[in-house]
């Protein structure tokens, strides 16, 4: 196969390589566009600010700036209906339309979402990463000033997230380190994070994550076209983005596991790790089944170089229904990993809200959770399949109707494989969906075309 040609200056930043690990703050602001001319004028002014995937030669910028757009947003910017129809169905219909399939029901249903989300009013998403408070404030002031100058533009929802020490999320686990290995980007990580093949692992095709490039289907059959993408000039070097604000009920989670562990001989810390499939420091249970390794750095190479078929086929280390094993089953579905590798996503989540004090099991009433962000070439094949088939159902893992226990839900239970096995009863939800959107992250070329009103 030819070397992958990646036009980094045309692809927005934070997709292929994470900013989150280098920036302490991430702010998300959804903007509503009152009329197309104002929207395009504002967008034109933002173009020079947009951070690309080009490698930094000097010191990293104090803040970064990225843009994504919803389907109603394309319309609000004056993109024609015919061009919008060239986008994927699920993107056009929006996350709200998929709510039932995604398990966003009951208290998580769109009727209960926060202001501005799922209403058609969230048109563009601005994502700002900043080193600390100063640059963040500067960037936010600049943004608000620019919006006010253009008129007809309002912030309809905003979330200010920040990284915790050790990149922990609120339940206490290092998050975001396991990512797909991509050709031309992260080939070193292919073992365990790419595609298992008889001769070893190889990285995934770029087109699984960036449109306009060969994906895993076209790479094996040269007669097949590139994966479906929006009409030119919007299709190439863009990608789809999933944005979900998920409240985490940390005290409830701790209380529930502590209560259940009264009958679990190895204690609540171990039980919690079993639910997740990793130790709090990020070490996988598949490779460190008994105790957490004392000096573990999730960033060091090779920490995710494992499969389940050889290491832990029966789930005695990492349970068959553990969160990380469900969301990325690697080779565990058999068929040499072929049932899993087309359902990978690039994750860029960040926690919001203050952490709950260590050891506290009483709710303090604070709103805290995760802004889940992922990038993929097909929302339905990648993100939605993971959510529907792997997290919200257990059938493919031979786990009946067991759902992912970490997300909770009233269906099914969780079995911790062992001698004897231990079972967690179905539990109230540990997370509540607060709102979300499906977005498109245009290339720099595409952003300019939209701003100039020549996107079709």
């Amino acid at each position: 196969m030819a070397a992958v040609d990646i036009d980094r200056a045309d692809i927005q930043g934070d997709i292929l390589e994470a900013y989150g690990n280098r920036y302490g703050h991430t702010s998300y602001l959804f903007i509503s566009i009152g009329d197309p001319a104002s929207g395009r004028a504002w967008l034109s002014e933002q173009l020079p600010k947009v951070t690309t995937a080009a490698r930094w030669t000097g010191p990293r910028p104090r803040s970064t700036f990225n843009l994504a757009v919803t389907s109603p947003g394309l319309g609000a910017l004056g993109v024609s209906a015919a061009t919008i129809e060239s986008f994927s169905d699920e993107f056009q219909q929006g996350m709200k339309a998929s709510a039932a399939d995604l398990g966003d029901v009951g208290k998580s249903a769109p009727d209960h979402w926060e202001t501005g989300l799922g209403t058609g009013q969230a048109h563009m998403l601005v994502t700002i990463n900043a080193l600390d408070d100063g640059p963040l404030q500067e960037a936010l002031d600049g943004l608000r000033g620019g919006l006010a100058d253009c008129g007809q533009l309002d912030v309809v929802h905003e979330v200010h997230a920040r990284m915790f020490g050790g990149a922990r999320e609120h339940f206490g686990f290092a998050d975001g380190f396991s990512q797909p290995a991509i050709e031309g980007v992260s080939e070193d990580a292919a073992i365990g994070e790419g595609v298992p093949e008889p001769g070893g692992w190889r990285p995934l095709a770029l087109g699984e994550f960036i449109l306009g490039h060969e994906d895993e289907e076209s790479r094996t059959d040269r007669h097949r076209r590139l994966p479906t993408a929006p009409n030119d000039p919007l299709g190439r070097n863009g990608t789809y983005m999933v944005w979900r604000k998920v409240r985490q009920h940390v005290a409830l989670f701790r209380r529930t596991v502590r209560e259940a562990s009264r009958h679990y001989s190895e204690g609540d810390a171990k039980l919690m790790a079993k639910v997740v499939g990793r130790w709090p420091n990020g070490a996988p249970l598949a490779t460190s089944p008994d105790v957490p390794p004392a000096h573990f750095d999730p960033r060091s190479p090779g920490t995710n170089a494992f499969g389940y078929v050889n290491e832990d086929p029966n789930g005695f280390g990492c349970p068959l229904g553990a969160h990380v094993r469900r969301s990325n089953p690697r080779d565990s579905l058999g068929f040499n990993g072929k049932l899993a590798f087309r359902h990978r996503i690039i994750r860029r989540g960040m926690p919001y809200g203050p952490p709950l004090k260590d050891g506290t099991v009483e709710d303090d009433g604070e709103d805290r959770g995760l802004v889940f962000v992922c990038f993929n070439a097909s929302i339905s094949r990648q993100f939605e399949s993971i959510q529907r088939q792997w997290l919200n159902d257990g059938n493919v893992f031979h786990l009946g109707d067991d759902r992912d226990y970490l997300l909770g839900g009233t269906a099914g239970k969780m079995t911790i494989q062992g001698r004897p096995p231990f079972m967690l009863a179905p539990q109230a939800q540990f997370v509540t969906m607060r709102g979300g959107e499906y977005l498109f992250v245009p290339s720099l070329t595409a952003l300019a075309a939209i701003a100039d009103g020549v996107a079709g």
Binding site: R262, G400, K413, M423, A425
Partner: protein, 178 residues
């Protein structure tokens, strides 16, 4: 050689193809889209394991031969169910007739009202013989599957609650519940 693989174990696979009347495709699409999912009217078919209605919009149209003759839209109904055809047709044409009538009545040649014995005869005439079908548990009836699932749930509930029980309590609880 005629295809006659309509049965596997005690299961029967029915396939029906009915031509949709001219101009009725959109209305039929609406009717199907508006059917409730929970509970589905098909859940009234007590004998059925699986059942579906599918609109085939351009039956017989080959995109590589745009000039070739084509046969218009068809309604496909397929179902797998317990036992013989007749009791199932009874459920389909009588038990769920109120929901199914607005669907069948958009097909060419269907008796009006599209229910009861005349509809049964129509469906038999439009039946397509099955070549091969897959049944994961060909000997198990719907009722047996339902009972097994309930037993599974009962067993799991018991297993969860009994964790940490001493032997005597465990024995007594088991005897009380099973």
């Amino acid at each position: 050689m005629p295809l006659t693989s309509n049965t596997e174990g005690q299961m029967y696979a029915l396939t029906v193809l009915a031509p949709i009347a001219p101009g009725e495709v959109d209305a039929l699409e609406q009717t199907l889209a508006n059917l409730p999912h929970d509970p589905s009217p098909l859940s009234g078919l007590g004998l059925a394991h699986f059942a579906r209605w599918v609109i085939i919009p351009d039956f017989g149209k080959d995109p590589s031969r745009p000039q070739a003759e084509h046969f218009g839209p068809y309604l496909l109904f397929s179902a797998t169910f317990d036992g013989d055809l007749e009791p199932f047709l009874e459920q389909l044409c009588v038990t769920v007739a109120d929901d199914a009538e607005p669907i069948w009545s958009r097909c060419i040649g269907v008796p009006i009202p599209a229910r009861g014995a005349p509809l049964k005869a129509y469906l038999r005439r439009n039946q397509v013989q099955t070549g091969l079908f897959f049944a994961a548990y060909p000997q198990a009836t719907v009722e047996e599957v339902t009972v097994a699932l309930a037993l599974r749930k009962q067993t799991i509930d018991f297993a969860i609650r009994s964790q940490g029980m001493d032997a005597a309590t465990l024995r007594q609880t088991f005897l009380d519940e099973f």
